[in-house]
Structures are given as structure tokens and as C-alpha cells.
């Protein structure tokens, strides 16, 4: 069998004396849906940043699609197919919603020949339709509501034509119906063949979404497997419920 899409091995990251990630292994196959959970400060976001390249990891290696991406700048990793959304939405606030998508559409796929503007705009609208933002395409992105900003984050990540999407807490602070919207969007990624790593605190969402769950506690991976087994794991129970 060929190598999984993402293979992180022994990834370690220190901030001064604080060990944020301690030899974390994580692999994700093409099209797979993986939930990544863990208490606050357990290193989830640090791991996302190391995979996306906004932070450099120390020891260990990160391979994606058969090549080592550890030394690559974030924009190079995006072009290879690693897209991410941010925990706190970071829209390009001076642009309209549609223009936000034109940025990754024009830049993220280096291999694709440059296409004309009309084709790019059509593609942006198609993505906006899928996340339910088409009516707001010409709004300034800085003026969107929280849930729409989360949708825009995901739409912008999809516009990069990724093979892997890392979604960093896309649902924090949303109502349950808004959450269902977001989960719906994430579940559709499977149809596009996009693997998703979902980082989330809201257990209901994680269980509903994930085919597999990995658990980080204090920078170490303590469990990784099918949701029902992982959630019964003693160390996970201890981390979440206390003893």
C-alpha cells in the first residue's frame, strides 16, 4: 500500500523551556476525516501551525503527498495541497467575499495555467454557492457575521484546491444550528476527495464528523483510533473528566 497523504513523525516543538509538542505522530490518508481533540494548551494549534508551515517544527519530519515539506514556506505547502482555516477568522477585510476567494484561486495552484478572470470569478461563485454565501458575494468580508466568517474561512481554504484541509476550531462559539451548517460543509469535502483534520472542542461535532480521532494531551498523542474506542480510553477520560 502506498504512503498516506500526510505523515508526521516525531514532530517536536519547543517554546523556550515549554515543550508544546513532544514527538507527535499523525498520519492522514487521502479523503479521510480525522478529529483532533485535546484540552486547552495541549498543542493542537501548534500542530496545525507546524503542518501548515506558519511555525517551523524542531525534531521530526512532516511528509505530504510523498515529499518532505518540513522546510517549505506556507505558500509552497498550500500549493502542494495543504490548506487551513484559522481559529479566529482572518478575512481579507478590505475585499468583498468573492475577492477573498480570488486570492487563493489566483495564487494557490501554481501548476495550473493562468485562466481568465471570468473563469476565476465563476469558480469563486461555485464555491460560495456550496457554502451558502452566494447571496453575500459582494459584501465586504469584514462586515460578515461570525458564522459567515467561518464559512468564508472554509470557502477560502477550499478555493486553494487542497488535498488536505486542516480546520482549526471552525465551530467555537456557534449555535447548534450554525454548527450543523458547518459540519454539513465539512462532510461535503469527502465528495471532493479532500481529507479533513478537524480540531474541535465540541465533542458532539467531533464524534459526528470523524472516522478516526486522535487525542493530544500536554503535547503528546495519547490515543488514536476509532471514535468509540478512543473516547473510552482511560487517559482521555482522565484528561477530559478528571479522576
Amino acid at each position: 500500500m502506498s504512503e498516506p497523504l500526510l505523515v508526521a513523525r516525531g514532530v517536536t516543538r519547543r517554546f523556550g523551556g515549554f515543550l508544546a509538542l513532544d514527538q507527535v505522530d499523525l498520519s492522514v490518508s487521502a479523503g479521510e476525516r480525522v478529529g483532533l481533540i485535546g484540552p486547552n494548551g495541549s498543542g493542537k494549534s501548534t500542530l496545525v501551525n507546524c503542518i501548515a508551515g506558519t511555525l517551523r517544527h524542531g525534531a521530526g519530519s512532516i511528509r505530504f503527498d510523498g515529499r518532505d515539506v518540513g522546510g517549505l514556506a506556507p505558500h509552497r505547502r498550500v500549493r502542494l495541497g495543504i490548506a487551513r482555516s484559522f481559529q479566529i477568522p482572518r478575512p481579507f477585510a478590505s475585499m468583498t467575499v468573492r475577492e477573498n476567494l480570488l486570492v487563493p484561486l489566483s495564487y494557490a495552484d501554481g501548476s495550473r495555467p493562468r485562466r481568465d478572470r471570468a473563469a476565476l470569478a465563476d469558480e469563486a461563485m461555485a464555491i460560495l454557492r456550496q457554502v451558502g454565501l452566494e447571496a453575500k458575494a459582494d459584501r465586504r468580508s469584514g462586515e460578515l457575521t461570525q458564522v459567515d466568517m467561518r464559512k468564508l474561512e472554509l470557502a477560502r481554504a477550499v478555493a486553494a484546491r487542497p488535498k488536505l484541509l486542516v480546520s482549526d476550531e471552525a465551530m467555537a462559539g456557534l449555535s447548534s444550528s450554525e454548527m450543523d451548517d458547518i459540519i454539513g460543509i465539512l462532510l461535503e469535502m469527502k465528495g471532493r476527495g479532500i481529507a479533513v483534520v478537524l480540531i474541535e472542542h465540541i465533542m458532539r461535532a467531533v464524534v459526528r464528523f470523524s472516522e478516526r480521532i486522535a487525542v493530544l494531551v500536554a503535547g503528546r498523542k495519547v490515543a488514536d483510533g476509532a471514535p468509540e474506542t478512543v473516547l473510552r480510553h482511560p487517559e482521555v477520560e482522565r484528561a477530559y473528566l478528571g479522576q
Partner: protein, 317 residues
């Protein structure tokens, strides 16, 4: 409008305008005043590529302007250099220094980048003041060996024509940057650099292109300055008024579009020239300051932003 068409249009307008002016206007003062205003069109457009499109505030405009000025001085000290060669050299030197400075300072954001550019201007000033070959603090004279080319009655007319072409070129370049894919990448950097990088924008490369273009155009504007004044000295070349004006003009005109710096430079530049003649030269920066206060409070997005915002409400129902 496509870029080649727009370029042809502005260059054509500049050429036609100059030809008409040379035919109809006899007073050399008006050409000198026009030269100064157009010089600010170039400086403001150049500043806006880095400041308005990319979001990096450069307080060192005078330094890049001076690089152009002193490239010309050096060349003219070596041999009687033609204007075109000096313009090319000044542009190249300032673009290269812009690239280098960008590489060293672009990891700084916001205020810290601004301070670094201010410091850079001081370093370059100190260097020039102590460099004897270009006259040091005494300044340098430039002796014109030829009269103006055929068709121009005076040096001022000829330099006005050169500056008009350079202003047209700067506007065309600024508009191209704004409307191209590069402009979209720069705008993404301005809004959120990390998000831009994560959307596939090669942020470092684009920022370097932006500093090089911006610096190069400022150097270009400076290259003809010694021919214009025939005597340059560091205090004048590194004057605060260049740094302040090249920030104030885009701010007043509008920073998100190529048209903003043009409007701001025409408005402020002409007003300053009028003030200089009718009241006194000292009121120049006062005017800039007063207008800045007015615009920052009333129309923070400049004339262009203000006009855009008004348009929908004025449309008939």
C-alpha cells in the same frame, strides 16, 4: 481598460499636454511649477505602491529620491551624462537599494518598519554629507553643457516634458500593479499577511517586488532634479517635505487606487505652488498638516474612497 491601452492613453495625454503647453505658455515659471507638481505625482504614486497597496508605511521617501539625485550627480561628475542615462541609472540604483532594504526590514511590521525607513534615510544622509565626491554638505553644482533639445525653448520646458512622461509612466505602472494578480496578492498582504501566505501568496517575493518598484520610481523622480535646480545640497534633497508629502498625497487622494495619489498630488501640489507665490513658502507644510487633519477625520479613505461611497446613495431610485 487594458493595461496597454491605458498606458497609451496616459502617455499620449502627457505628450499632447506638453506639446500644447510648450506652444501656448511663454512663462517659464509655470513649467517649473508644473515640474514640481508632476514630480509629486511620481513620488506619491511610488509611495502608494508600497504604502497603499501593500500596507507598509515608508518614511524614507526622501532617501530614495536622493538616490536618484545623487546617481545623476555622480554620473555628471564623471562625464557629461545625458538625462535619459541618468534617469535609467537613478531608477536602477534606487530599485536595487529598495530591494536590499526590503530584504533587511520587511520582517518588521507597522510602526517598526516605518522607523526603520526613517533610520535608513538618516544613514544615507550622513553618508552623502560625508562623501566629498558628490560635494558633501557643501552641495554639488551641475553645469549644463547643452541647451534643451530642439522644439523646447528652455531647460524648464524640456524637464517638464521629461517629468510629464515619467508621471504618465508611473501612473500606468501603478494601475497595472493594482489591477493585476500581483495587486490582489499585495492587497491580501495588506489585509492579513499570515492569511495571505496561507492562501498561497508568496508574500516575501511580492513585498520585495513592491519595495523595488516603489523605490525605483522615487529614484526616477530624483534623477532629473539636479538638471532642474543645477545645484543640489543634502539638506534640500533629504528634506522632510518629500517624506511628508509622499505620504500625505495618497492619504488625501485615497490609498487603494492608482487615482488617489494622482488626485492628492495635483490638489496638494498645486495648492502648495499657489501658496508659495501668494503667501509664503513657509506655509506649505502647514497646509499639508491642516488638510491631513481634515481628511483623516472627514474622509479617512481619501477622495477616491469618499466618492465611491457617495455614488450608490446618489443613484436615482
Amino acid at each position: 481598460m487594458t493595461t496597454p491601452r491605458f498606458t497609451a492613453l496616459v502617455v499620449g495625454l502627457a505628450a499632447a499636454g506638453t506639446a500644447l503647453a510648450v506652444r501656448l505658455v511663454a512663462n517659464d515659471y509655470l513649467f517649473s511649477a508644473g515640474y514640481t507638481v508632476l514630480q509629486f505625482v511620481v513620488l506619491a504614486s511610488a509611495w502608494n505602491i508600497l504604502g497603499g497597496f501593500t500596507g507598509y508605511v515608508n518614511f524614507g521617501s526622501a532617501a530614495f529620491f536622493a538616490l536618484g539625485v545623487y546617481s545623476s550627480v555622480v554620473l555628471n561628475n564623471l562625464f557629461p551624462a545625458p538625462v535619459a542615462l541618468c534617469v535609467a541609472a537613478g531608477t536602477a540604483v534606487a530599485a536595487l537599494v529598495g530591494l536590499g532594504m526590503g530584504y533587511l526590514t520587511l520582517r518588521l511590521r507597522g510602526v517598526f518598519f516605518a522607523i526603520a525607513t526613517l533610520a535608513f534615510a538618516q544613514v544615507l544622509l550622513t553618508f552623502v554629507v560625508n562623501w566629498d565626491f558628490v560635494g558633501g554638505a557643501r552641495g554639488a553644482y551641475l553645469v549644463l553643457r547643452h541647451g534643451p533639445p530642439p522644439g523646447f525653448r528652455s531647460n524648464a520646458q524640456w524637464l517638464f516634458a521629461v517629468m510629464a512622461l515619467m508621471a504618465a509612466g508611473s501612473l500606468a505602472l501603478a494601475r497595472w500593479v493594482q489591477t493585476s494578480t500581483m495587486g490582489r496578492g499585495l492587497a491580501a498582504i495588506r489585509d492579513d499577511e499570515v492569511a495571505a501566505e496561507c492562501a498561497g501568496v508568496p508574500t516575501l517575493r511580492l513585498k520585495l517586488a513592491s519595495t523595488a518598484l516603489s523605490g525605483g520610481l522615487m529614484g526616477m523622480a530624483g534623477a532629473t532634479f539636479p538638471y532642474f535646480l543645477l545645484y543640489v545640497e543634502p539638506g534640500g534633497v533629504f528634506s522632510l517635505s518629500y517624506a511628508v508629502n509622499s505620504i500625505a498625497m495618497p492619504l488625501i487622494g485615497g490609498m487603494h487606487s492608482w487615482a488617489g495619489p494622482l488626485l492628492g498630488a495635483l490638489l496638494l501640489g498645486i495648492a502648495q505652488q499657489v501658496l508659495q507665490v501668494t503667501v509664503s513658502a513657509d506655509w506649505n507644510l502647514f497646509l499639508v498638516g491642516a488638510l491631513l487633519v481634515v481628511f483623516v477625520t472627514v474622509a479617512p479613505e481619501g477622495i477616491v474612497g469618499w466618492a465611491r461611497r457617495r455614488r450608490p446613495s446618489e443613484a436615482p431610485p
